[in-house]
């Protein structure tokens, strides 16, 4: 990627991150929490976007979401590790590692078969988790209060600090990911999406690119799961359930695979719709969510990211 473009991306990201951090001081606490959750979901969505660039959609990202969450939770309760940043980072690495192990198995499949096999993985994990009573079974367990560099913040600031930490870490991840998308394997992924066989004829390995993408997606999903667990302060097998995975797919379809910030915007939209309908229509929030999904797929089939791209393309032409 040209240096100028990279500098641009870094500049824009830092601007966006500082803006969000400043805004966070003025918005009410519940919104801070909603945004933190949206970031957690957005990270998983970002993973699916990475796969989507290679033409695959995983219907089982709950698998890595759950592994990340449980990694953070078990490290917190069993090993006494409560530093939020460290937990996020370890979950990222560990889940990425798990992804690397199962990726060669999944990378042979395409289309709906890939989606279904990843779904099977997540549901096997769900089945195992609700059976292990030592870690709470279907009730899950409560995470200890998280600390930052050894300091545990007072309760009224805890949400805001987690918010800042998640924005910083997500910002770094997004910049790295943008760089990866424009690197050789990142661009090969787009070619795989278009025509896998030709990529192979030209001497690149579609398999390797898919494995790499899946590993990255797993790491991101794990980080999202850990962040979600820390933000909620509680974790249960619902993390790995297929309806959770469905929400991640929705986020990535709503965002489209063209833009990184669009993913977080989509995740925020979903969280807002969910919180509002959960608050004002507690009995029918699924109905509202479903109608929202259908309408957004009908009216923005190629995702919010396509608006962004059109906007920036116009901007460049001027």
């Amino acid at each position: 990627m040209p240096l100028k473009l990279l500098n641009n991306v870094i500049f824009q990201s830092i601007f966006l991150m500082s803006l969000l951090i400043v805004v966070g001081v003025f918005i009410p606490n519940w919104l801070v929490f909603v945004i933190t959750k949206a970031i957690a979901y957005g990270l998983v969505g970002l993973g699916i976007i990475t796969l989507m660039r290679g033409g695959l959609v995983s219907f089982g990202q709950g698998f890595v979401f759950g592994i990340g969450g449980y990694t953070a939770g078990l490290l917190g309760t069993q090993a006494g590790l409560t530093d939020a940043m460290l937990l996020l980072f370890i979950s990222f690495l560990f889940t990425g590692f798990i992804g690397l192990i199962i990726a060669p198995l999944l990378a042979r499949y395409r289309d709906i078969f890939f989606a279904m096999l990843s779904l099977a993985c997540s549901m096997v994990l769900y089945g195992i988790l609700i059976k292990i009573d030592a870690i709470g079974g279907s009730d899950g367990f409560v995470l200890p209060e998280s600390t930052y560099f050894g300091i545990s913040p007072s309760p009224e600031y805890a949400d805001y600090i987690l918010y800042v930490v998640s924005i910083l870490m997500t910002g770094v991840v997004s910049i790295l990911l943008r760089y990866y998308y424009n690197s050789t394997p990142g661009l090969i992924a787009l070619a795989v999406r278009e025509n896998e066989l030709r990529v192979e004829y030209l001497g690149s390995s579609a398999f390797n690119v898919t494995v790499l993408n899946f590993t990255i997606a797993a790491g991101l999903g794990g980080m999202g799961g850990a962040l979600n667990g820390i933000a909620l302060g509680h974790i249960d097998p619902e993390f790995t359930y297929w309806t959770t995975s469905g929400e991640f797919v929705f986020i990535s379809i709503l965002a489209g695979y063209l833009s990184v910030p669009a993913v977080f915007l989509a995740a925020l939209l979903l969280e807002l719709v969910r919180s509002f309908s959960g608050r004002y229509f507690p009995d029918t929030w699924q109905l509202i969510l479903g109608v929202f999904l259908i309408l957004s797929i009908i009216f923005i089939p190629s995702g919010i990211g396509s608006f962004f791209k059109q906007f920036f393309d116009k901007f460049k032409n001027k």
Partner: protein, 299 residues
């Protein structure tokens, strides 16, 4: 020992038969419309609910008991008649020809809507309709007792499968459907009204889902959340058998039904994920399922 094996086989066959009826609709809809319909489970639940509503009304009218089967058929038919135009004409038609995964997501959204519609119409309480199950009495097999109704379900499943297979392969309209499955564009050029075929196929699929629901209603307590398990299990069946294949659905349902019954009797802890193991195992050796032909790769 023999008793135990017989129990597993019969339990497995009963379980497999309702699973097959659900999966048959799912795989047929996929075959014709190329839609993997998550909302299929929602239609199943609607079938169960409508039976749980209509059967008590039927009994309050004081008709002869045997006609209750007819009531259950009517309730399944009613669900299919109401749901098909809304789903197929209203929503899904806009997405034909688009990415498969996008359509899966649309049906997931419809599934969410149906979940809440059930709650809105029937509330959160469980409904029970055990009466039809007593209709056929009990059967004694050696030292085992089986409810006649349960065994009749196996017959119903065989009947549904055979009927669909015969209609598809031996009648003119069935051959038209096969032509559309094979190539909708060319069939359209030959004068086939594809939209009509799609509508009819979706209707058949929805009816089978509702039928499975209404005939399972006497076996279970009809309550919120019965559709969730159905979605995943019928998906596993069609993935094992190969998407769009009727013989595949038979084999898939039998594999899952037997594996589950064996688990329930021998290893209850594994019951929840045995079907995922079956599905994953099958996909490792036959990536496209048992009955999926090879496809030419696009160069």
């Amino acid at each position: 020992m023999i008793d135990e094996i017989l129990t597993i086989i019969l339990d497995g066959a009963i379980y497999a038969s309702w699973l097959f009826i659900v999966a048959l609709g799912l795989t047929f809809v996929f075959g014709v419309l190329k839609i993997l319909n998550i909302a299929h489970g929602g239609i199943y639940a609607l079938g169960a609910y409508s039976t749980a509503t209509l059967v008590p009304i039927f009994y309050s009218l004081g008709m002869p008991d045997q006609l209750v089967i007819l009531t259950m058929l009517v309730s399944a038919l009613a669900v299919a008649i109401v749901i098909t135009p809304i789903m197929e004409r209203g929503i899904l038609r806009r997405f034909y020809g688009q990415d498969e995964v996008l359509i899966v997501l649309v049906t997931y959204a419809i599934y969410l809507v149906l979940e809440d519609v059930q709650k809105l119409i029937w509330g959160m309480n469980s409904l029970y309709v055990y009466e039809p199950r007593e209709l056929l009495g009990a059967l004694e097999l050696g030292s085992l007792y089986y409810v006649g109704y349960d065994l009749a379900l196996i017959g119903l499943a065989i009947f549904c499968g055979l009927l669909l297979w015969l209609v598809l392969n031996k009648t003119k309209s069935g051959k038209i459907v096969l032509a559309v499955i094979h190539n909708p564009e060319i069939s359209g050029c030959m004068g086939v009204n594809i939209n009509k075929v799609y509508l009819a196929a979706f209707f058949v699929g929805a009816f089978l889902a509702a039928l499975a629901g209404s005939f399972t209603a006497p076996l279970i307590s009809v309550q919120v959340g019965i559709s969730v398990a159905v979605v995943i299990e019928s998906f596993a069946v069609v993935i094992i058998g190969g998407l769009g294949s009727i013989p595949g659905a038979v084999i898939g349902a039998l594999i899952i039904g037997m594996a589950r019954a064996a688990c329930v009797h021998k290893l209850p802890e594994a019951e929840i994920f045995i079907m995922y193991f079956c599905m994953a195992g099958m996909l490792i050796f036959r990536p496209k399922g048992l009955f999926q032909g090879t496809q030419a790769r696009k160069i």
